[in-house]
Symmetry: C2
Subunit: 420 residues, 2 copies
């Protein structure tokens, strides 16, 4: 089915002025302009299909990612598409292990974001060529073929290819029923739209009222800039949503280790399910310390949106440093690397609760979490996918949310995400 030779890759710097209304504002990112490096690949096949991929950015620096995409393009242009996805592990490693480019990574920061944008476009085109939405391409894929997309380098001490194969094989049991369940009810979501840090109390209240009316039962609040302010806002949101709905907190890396423990302890009375990104995204051992200290308060640790590769996730799992694993569809090396993380999470029995929002992240990550449920985790316990209500109007096929759940995209030939 796979066809064509890649004849062109183009990349665009797309920016939205979200900072003007404080959408997306948090303790460390006070003025984000949601943006993307947006990649389109074309082949010489006569079907006219193109692959669209993006990586999410916050405004300034998008041009740096665009520059990195151009540097990596040499690895994809003029290649048979069959050669790329037919030995996808090899192609993944070519992008991530280029003997010169890896020095400015490796597998982290700008080059890895660029890698994600390119690979997201490859997966989009592959799904379109197969005439399926991406989640369905993954769900239908033979375990051996799925494994051939994953680079196991540096993670074999936590997950071998053989273990991964057994998991995927086991995941085939009951797959059909779970797929039908997803098509009927969708995948549970939570909302971050109500409580950005820059919003006024009045805005918070109004947004909570509206969200409750729309059926939302899980709410995330940004914290970390000012403790009295956090106490007031958490109290307000808890009052608005009542004692039975879920409340999550997100500090966006604001604290040092001890500071995180002290601060979050003072918010424990509002019964948060988790504290997200309490400290540096690189601080595995710090997260483990915080996790241990907050466990008696019943507060879990969530992190991952800035966890830069599978080697870091491996260690977060090994060190028992998180309770909720938040994959990102653009921070990691696209579907390929996310597959390895989903499988490691399954092995360590940690629920995956993806990061979304920004621009295009909801559109992207829904495919991964649908696959995770249908073919890997087979569980909805303690699981939910983030949802943020911004910028969907710019997509040709925006996500569909019904009763606070992601409804699986079913558009024939729309792999995933396309700007209007």
């Amino acid at each position: 089915m796979v066809r064509g030779r890649v004849i062109a890759l183009s990349v665009t710097d797309v920016r939205f002025p979200t900072s003007s209304d404080q959408h997306g504002s948090d303790a460390m990112h006070t003025d984000p302009d949601y943006s993307a490096a947006y990649v389109v690949i074309e082949t010489d096949a006569t079907d006219g299909l193109k692959g669209y991929g993006l990586t999410f950015t916050l405004g300034k620096g998008t041009e740096v990612v665009v520059c990195a995409v151009k540097a990596l393009a040499v690895h994809i242009v003029d290649r048979e598409f069959e050669e790329i996805v037919g030995d996808f592990r090899r192609f993944y490693r070519q992008l991530t292990s280029d003997g010169q480019l890896r020095w400015i990574g490796p597998e982290k920061g700008v080059v890895h974001l660029a890698t994600a944008a390119i690979l997201n476009a490859v997966w989009d085109l592959w799904a379109k060529q197969e005439g399926k939405p991406l989640w369905k391409l993954l769900v239908d894929m033979d375990p051996q073929k799925l494994l051939s997309c994953i680079d196991f380098r540096y993670i074999t001490d936590a997950l071998t290819e053989e273990e991964a194969y057994d998991m995927l094989k086991h995941g085939k049991l009951g797959q059909k029923e779970r797929e039908e369940q997803m098509l009927k009810n969708g995948y549970p979501a939570y909302t971050t739209s109500c409580a950005w840090l820059g919003y006024s109390d009045q805005q918070l209240k109004e947004l909570c009222v509206k969200a409750l009316k729309d059926g939302w039962t899980r709410f995330k609040v940004k914290v970390g800039a000012d403790l009295p302010d956090d106490i007031r806002r958490c109290k307000l949101v808890r009052e608005m949503i009542g004692p039975d709905n879920l409340l999550m907190l997100d500090a966006n890396q604001r604290w040092d280790v001890q500071e995180a423990i002290d601060w979050v302890s003072k918010l424990a009375e509002f019964k948060p399910l988790w504290i997200e990104e309490p400290t540096s995204p690189d601080d595995i051992l710090g997260h483990a310390t915080i996790s241990k200290a907050l466990a008696p308060l019943g507060i879990g640790i969530a992190t991952g949106e800035q966890c830069h590769n599978r080697v870091m996730f491996k260690q977060f799992l090994q060190a028992k440093a998180l309770h909720y694993l938040q994959i990102d569809s653009c921070r990691l090396g696209s579907v390929n690397e996310n597959l390895s993380v989903l499988l490691m999470a399954k092995k360590f029995q940690i629920p995956v609760c993806p990061h979304a929002g920004g621009v295009g992240l909801c559109e992207l990550v829904q495919h991964l979490i649908l696959f995770d449920y249908i073919s890997v985790s087979a569980s909805l316990e303690n699981r939910m996918c983030e949802y943020v209500d911004h910028l969907h109007e710019h997509f040709k096929y925006p996500v569909t949310i019904k009763k606070a759940a992601y409804m699986p995209p079913q558009v024939f030939r729309a792999g995933c995400w396309i700007f209007n």
Copy 2:
């Protein structure tokens, strides 16, 4: 003394075709073209002094770092120089915590390399304005002033500002004698020039003979591509240098955890002091596992040249994952971040053995290691600085090596590094 307003920052993409002769070749970087993003800052002061800084790259991708430097330039151009170095911690955090740019890092990969290039130029200019080589500026600096250059964010669970102050205060004892000792004997070095992976056995032999004649007693060999090949090369070098000289091995991240243990065990008979970068630079816990397994063989772990920030170094130290800490002058956020790592290494009693080579790394890092000995560690036990004999001819003030030791640069008004 500090003066002027920064009126311009320029950045150049400088490349050397080192790959043509396999200089610098290792198991993961088979064809490096030693390159740099080279920054020059100018002020409106009438002294005509400029600040020169660089970050090292391997060829492709230098243009991406150049792009990132341009994105960061907004933070320095039009600023009073006194405002920059007068509250250097604040300036450091401005560069590394830009609310939009930090998304594509934070403090890692391309943006952090760009940060290093800019800050290296700032330190160069500062040293020149003070009329001292950089190491001397640092050695003479008041402990409180030194601390004000360091961002302690995310490391206070391992090192508080108070502890750091006490260390620096204590480091003043005997400082004068150590400075005189350095001026007389220099800082001990080891050579990596003899055994790049792409060199033939004949080349290896000839280079060993020459190095021994020049007084070298410590030698590093690249390994990791092929085990029989490694055994042959290690045997050859050990025979050439004899049983009493030091042999170090460097795998440049080639292996998975168990693979590293198995492979290095088979090289133990050649009595290497350390194995460098056995696996992913991100794998703290993996290094700890390898360290534990190789300890009975008397082989230590060295790593750091791709350790991307102080948070990672903190954890390597906390997890007892390394025995030799290899700072890099361009991978970390310049002198500022390296100061925090030198102090953490002192606290954890781990010797610092800097990474050098490439282009300009020897010229840069000599200042840091001289400061480390004179003002922090006060010890030469198990310590040595890497030296590689390439591309020094392109510098106006290249390093001076005498009897396998770095001689402290003393050029008045030459802070550190200037291309011809």
